[in-house]
Every structure is written in C-alpha cells, then in structure tokens.
C-alpha cells in the first residue's frame, strides 16, 4: 500500500499564507513556482529504503508559538542552552515562530547577520536570494519543491569577509504542535571568515503523526571555515526528510558533526561539494536506531576542485528491530587531480532483529587521486566486553562505555559544552 501523495495545498493556499505573513514578492514567487513543481515532480528515491508508504505530504501546515523570556522556555530547550548567562548567541524557533533570540553586541559589531529566515528575507533580500535553494535545488524532487513552497521559517547566519566569530552560534528548533516542521537554515561564510554553528531539533509528538521537511544550506567562501554541529532529536511520530548540503570554495573548509537521533522514520541526506581547489570537508555522523524505526542515511562528498579532500565517518548503533541503510558516497569528478577521498562506515548491532547496511561507494572519474574506504557491521566484541568486565565493570556499564566510545567521534566534536552534555544524555536515554 502506498500513501496518497497528491498535494492538499494549492495556489490559493500558498498565496494566502505568504500574504498573511507579509512575505516579499520574490519569496511569494519562489513559493508559487515551487508549488507547481511539487505537483509534478516525483518523490525522492532513497537507495535501498522503500518510502512508498511513508507520509511526507499530508500534514497540518501552520502552527504558532509565542515569544517568551528565557525562564519560560521549556526545560528541554533550556538544558541545551545552559543558564540564562549562557544564552548569548541563540535563536529559538518554536512551531515555526521565533520565540527567543540573543546575539552579542560584539558579534553584531563584526557585521554578522543572524536572524530568523523570514526576517532576513525581508531585511536582507539580496543576500537571502543569493543563497536560498541554491545548494539544494527546488526541482530535485517533490519534497524539495514542497519544502520551498511551504517552509515556515528557519535561521539565516551570514558572516562577512575576513570576520572570525569566536563564540558558537546556536539554534534550537522546537515543535510541540502537531503541525509539520518545515525549517530552512542558511549558513553563509564569506571569504576568509570562520564560524561555528550548532543546531538542535526537538519535538514532542511521541504519539502524534507529523512530518519534518528540513533543508540546511552551508556555504564556505574561499579560505572560509564553517563548523556545523547538529543534534536531531525528533520524536517517534515525526517522519523526517532532512537535507544538509554544503559548498566549499577554494581552500574553504566545512566540518559537519551530525548527531542524528530521531526516533521516527528518517531520510537524511548530507551532501557536500568541494568546488574550489584545496577545499576540505570532514563529515562525521553518528546515529542510534531503536524501536521499529526505519532510517536511510546518505553521506556524500563530491570532489570537483584539485587537491580537494573529503572525509566521511559514519557510526551507527542499531537496537530492537530498528533498521538503517548507510550509504557513503565519494565522487571524484574528472579534473579533480591530486584530490583525496576517504570514508568509514561502522555499524554496531545490539539485537538479533536490528538491521544495518553499510554501503561504501567510491566513484572516481580521475586517475591522479587517492581514495579509500572501510566498512563493517558487527556486534559488540565479546573480547572487549571480557576485558572491561575483568576490571570489575558490570556488563551493562561495559556496554555503555563501548557504545559511548563508538559515538565519541561526533560527541567530542560538538562546539558547545551544553550541547555536548545534552548529546551524552540523549545517547544514554536511547541505548538504555
């Protein structure tokens, strides 16, 4: 059985929605074009995962949140920030509405723009137009088009040329309405700039079905560096389609650290293009599958520039009867001489019924390159268990240590202590 993927949103709806939000004409235009495409384009086809009967298209669209003081934020959100004093550079979006925002004067003075996307679309039209739906194309498939026509809000982070932002910039997207989570993030670092951005996704729809359709676009200009950390923690009822896409120009650098801990069915695509010569990408992603959730993860790097380097590390823990596909793709294009691609996928199985497939794929159209891959799917090594237990550590604790160790590559990479701690808690809760 497959679900009806015809759209319940039409031109009138989109017109009304975008007018009521007083969106600029260009955005309205973009949305209407996207809607038309959404009506005709096919659904995405994640390799080896059948999503015919996943609902991505039928959802309640508009939701509301209200601006609040720090103390009124939900506990789960506060935990991600720390104390009120820690809330220095943070945007909280609740049900598509910005509800809390802080940005240090020092960062503002550097010319950094950080605001919710809707505000940016009105106040920084040229910049937003330059970046929105460029790394992810509107017409890739029905869901990217649907996203462009209906996204509710998101974040816009722009770092001007030669500016180094020392403090991490944080965003929290929190959903407790049954409406869909349609979020769009743009991080653009101009030439020779540097920034750390970390985002968290949270939802409470344990038993209510809903949809998340998320796009993040990251641009590292020449010589720029972007560290992008994410902890996804959407509840069981959420069916998620998330695209995180990056482009690095000459000597640009993007480091992804993605903790993908959704409890619902998820299709996640993380693709980065090494456009410029000497550009560098490091993708680290970890996940835990539990219950009967099904997930499909793509970590993909395209080497276009000469001397470009791309690294992918994916670690997944699978328990209960969860099943996941991990596709790692390194594509070295013709002309990308002296470039290098490397990937590792490791899956740790904690139960007989769990399923995990690791598929490392190297596609190389250039002779003068180096590339390598490693993949493994296995259980916890009984000899490791014996070793740890022989020091008096209980079976449960030994397993816990091994799993935390297995997921450490991403945990240790998180730029904010509060997020790191929270990530450890999420792992703890999920593997218990």
């Amino acid at each position: 059985m497959s679900v009806d993927t015809s759209l319940r949103f039409d031109k009138d709806y989109v017109n009304g929605f975008t007018s009521s939000r007083q969106e600029p004409a260009w955005l309205q235009e973009l949305r209407l074009q996207a809607l038309e495409l959404a009506q005709n384009l096919p659904m995405p086809k994640p390799d080896k995962t059948k999503i015919d009967n996943w609902n991505f298209t039928d959802f309640k669209h508009e939701a509301t949140g209200n601006a609040v003081a720090f103390n009124e934020l939900p506990e789960d959100v506060k935990a991600l920030i720390g104390s009120e004093e820690d809330a220095k550079n943070v945007l909280v979006i609740h049900n598509g509405t910005p509800v809390f925002f802080a940005l240090e004067q020092e960062v503002r003075d550097q010319g950094v723009i950080y605001t919710d996307l809707l505000t940016a679309a009105k106040e920084h039209e040229d910049l937003v137009k330059k970046y929105i739906m460029k790394a992810v194309a509107v017409d890739e498939n029905r869901l990217t088009a649907l996203h462009a026509s209906l996204f509710l809000n998101g974040a816009f982070l722009y770092v001007p040329k030669n500016v180094e932002v020392s403090a991490p910039i944080q965003a929290i997207y929190y959903q407790d309405d049954e409406a869909a989570l349609l979020n769009h993030v743009i991080v653009a670092a101009e030439d020779n700039s540097s920034v750390n951005y970390v985002e968290n996704y949270l939802s409470t729809n344990e038993n209510t079905e809903s949809v998340a359709n998320i796009v993040s676009e990251v641009y590292a200009g020449a010589g720029a560096k972007v560290v992008f950390g994410a902890v996804d923690n959407l509840a069981k009822g959420m069916t998620t389609y998330v695209n995180r896409r990056g482009r690095a120009e000459r000597d640009g650098r993007i480091e992804w650290a993605l903790g993908q801990f959704n409890d619902g069915n998820t299709v996640s695509d993380n693709t980065t293009h090494l456009i410029g010569d000497g550009s560098f990408i490091d993708t680290k992603t970890v996940t835990i599958g539990r219950g009967d959730q099904k997930q499909n993860f793509v970590a993909q790097i395209f080497n276009h520039g000469k001397h470009s380097e791309g690294y992918i590390l994916t670690h997944g823990v699978m328990k209960d009867s969860a099943s996941s596909i991990f596709n790692g793709i390194t594509k070295i294009e013709h002309g990308a001489t002296k470039s290098h691609g490397e990937q590792t996928e490791r899956v740790l199985m904690l139960s007989e019924k769990a399923r995990g497939d690791a598929n490392p794929i190297l596609l190389i159209d250039e002779d003068d390159v180096t590339a390598g891959h490693a993949a493994s799917v296995g259980r916890i090594d009984p000899l490791q268990m014996f070793y740890l237990m022989s020091r008096g550590i209980s079976k449960t604790e030994a397993e816990r240590l091994i799993i935390h160790g297995f997921l450490a590559p991403v945990v240790s990479q998180m730029p904010l202590e509060s997020v790191k701690n929270r990530l450890v808690e999420v792992i703890e809760r999920k593997v218990r």
């Binding site: 090594d381 009984p382 000899l383 490791q384 268990m385 014996f386 070793y387 740890l388 237990m389 022989s390 020091r391 008096g392 550590i393 209980s394 079976k395 604790e397 030994a398 240590l401 091994i402 935390h404 160790g405 297995f406 997921l407 450490a408 590559p409």
Partner: protein, 261 residues
C-alpha cells in the same frame, strides 16, 4: 583485610570441545608469588583466561575457590570485584574511551554508590603510578590501548593492576614483547605490590622476568597439568638446561595439548 587464597582442584577446561587443561591443582596464598613456566601450547594462557572467566573457555570439571568462595560461579566482573586481576597477553583496544575514564569507571565499580573516588584523588594516584612506571602522562588521555605499542599495552596492564589493587593478580606473559628496560619497569610495578595481602601468579616462557621478580614457587606445565614444582632454583635450571630433562624424567614425548589459545 585478610590474606587471599586461591585454590584450584582437579580443574579441566575445554575450548570448542577440545580439552586443554586436564586436571590441574594449585594453591596460592597471600604474600606468595608463583610462576608457571612451560613451553608453548601446554595450556598456560588457557588457565589464566579460564580463571578470569573468558567466554570462550568452558570449565568442564573441577573446583576453584577464591577466599573460600566458588570462583567459577561468579560473573567476570564479580571475580574482579572479589579481588582477582588478569594482566592480559593481548589486551583489547577500545576506541572513544580514554584510559583515565576507563580506570575511574573500574575503580568506582568496586566502590559503593556515593563513595566514588574524587577526581582529585584519582588524578593524584594516577600520576603517581604512571611516574612509577615511567609512563608519559599523555597516556591517561589516549583511548584505551588504541594504537599502543606492545610494550605500552603491557605497562598499561600493570598500571591498571596498581590502580585497582587486586588481592590476586595473574600476569599472562607480561614479559613477552618487552625490552629489558620495559621489563625492569614492569617488575618494579609488581614488586611494589608485594605484601602479605597480595598473591601473584606469573605465567611465562622465560626465566628472565624472574631475575627481577623472585618467585616463591615455580611450576612447570605440560600437557595441560602441572608436572613439576619447586623453588626459584627450578626456574634457573630450566633456563640453563631447557625442558627436555623434565620430559625425559617423566617420559613425556609431546608436551603440548595440541593447541595453545
């Protein structure tokens, strides 16, 4: 704290249905250091692994008590909590867990909840023991045994022993792969532990470690059992003359059990 006692009676151990230990008796008390020597493939490492509860080894019959309690009934971690320690010949590597975090978890596992070792005290102890073993402090923050050289792994085993202060330690070929300087450091660690409340079983091919740690008793293992016991002089004679005279004396042609794990 009372002096420990390990008593092994008529122990038989199999791996994948092949019997390796074929009726072994041994008793070790606090304050004693025993050495088990023997050629390759005679069951020495099997004995140490079986005593610690290695999942691959099956005890088919016999009795082992540790301080009067049935050791074979205990889970691996319970054996450790009771005070048994095994310095392994091939310690596992565990990625993502630092040496220090691992050691602290192990120390706290033996303590009551609410009585965990303080971070300051732990660091002080760790620094002291690492200095004693001439280990670089950076080792504390490296992942457990990951990328360690053979000698570094052995030192790390001794470090764990010193930090965990077991009542009885089994050192399984702790000397293999060590140069003479490292060997002396390891011996220093063991000698530091020597006291009436600590017993030790050293398993080795060679006598050279015993130049630095003088054993109270030396046993020779062949065909899965102890065939000869004596004092330190036995080790010296083995070093000088090899094992052939024992085989001759006992009429043994093939000393192995066919498979050394």
């Amino acid at each position: 704290m009372s002096a420990p006692n390990l008593k092994i009676e008529d122990l038989r151990v199999s791996i994948e249905d092949k019997e390796i230990i074929k009726g072994l008796d041994l008793e070790i008390n606090g304050g004693e250091i025993h050495a088990i020597m023997g050629p390759n493939g005679t069951g020495k490492s099997t004995l140490s692994a079986a005593l610690m509860g290695h999942p691959k080894y099956e005890v088919t019959s016999g009795k082992v008590t540790f301080n009067g309690e049935d050791l074979l009934e205990m889970e691996v971690d319970e054996r450790a909590k009771a005070g048994l320690f095994l310095a392994m010949q091939y310690p596992s590597e565990v990625s993502g867990i630092t040496n220090a975090d691992f050691l602290r978890s192990a120390i706290n596992a033996k303590r009551e909840e609410g009585d965990e070792i303080s971070l300051m005290k732990f660091i002080r102890e760790l620094d002291k023991k690492m200095d004693h073993l001439e280990m670089d402090n950076a080792f504390a923050h490296r992942y457990l045994n990951e990328g360690f050289s053979g000698g570094e792994k052995k030192r790390n085993e001794i470090l764990q022993m010193m930090m965990l202060e077991p009542k009885l330690a089994i050192l399984d070929e702790i000397d293999s792969g060590l140069d003479i300087d490292a060997l002396k450091v390891v011996a220093k660690g063991v000698n530091e532990m020597r006291n009436p409340d600590f017993g030790c079983l050293i398993i080795t091919h060679y006598q050279r470690l015993l130049n630095y740690i003088t054993p109270d008793k030396v046993h020779v293992m062949m065909q899965g059992r102890i065939v000869k016991s004596g004092g330190p002089e036995l080790a010296q004679r083995l070093e000088a003359e090899g094992y052939d005279w024992i085989k001759e004396e006992l009429g043994i042609k093939d000393e192995t059990v066919g498979q050394e794990a």
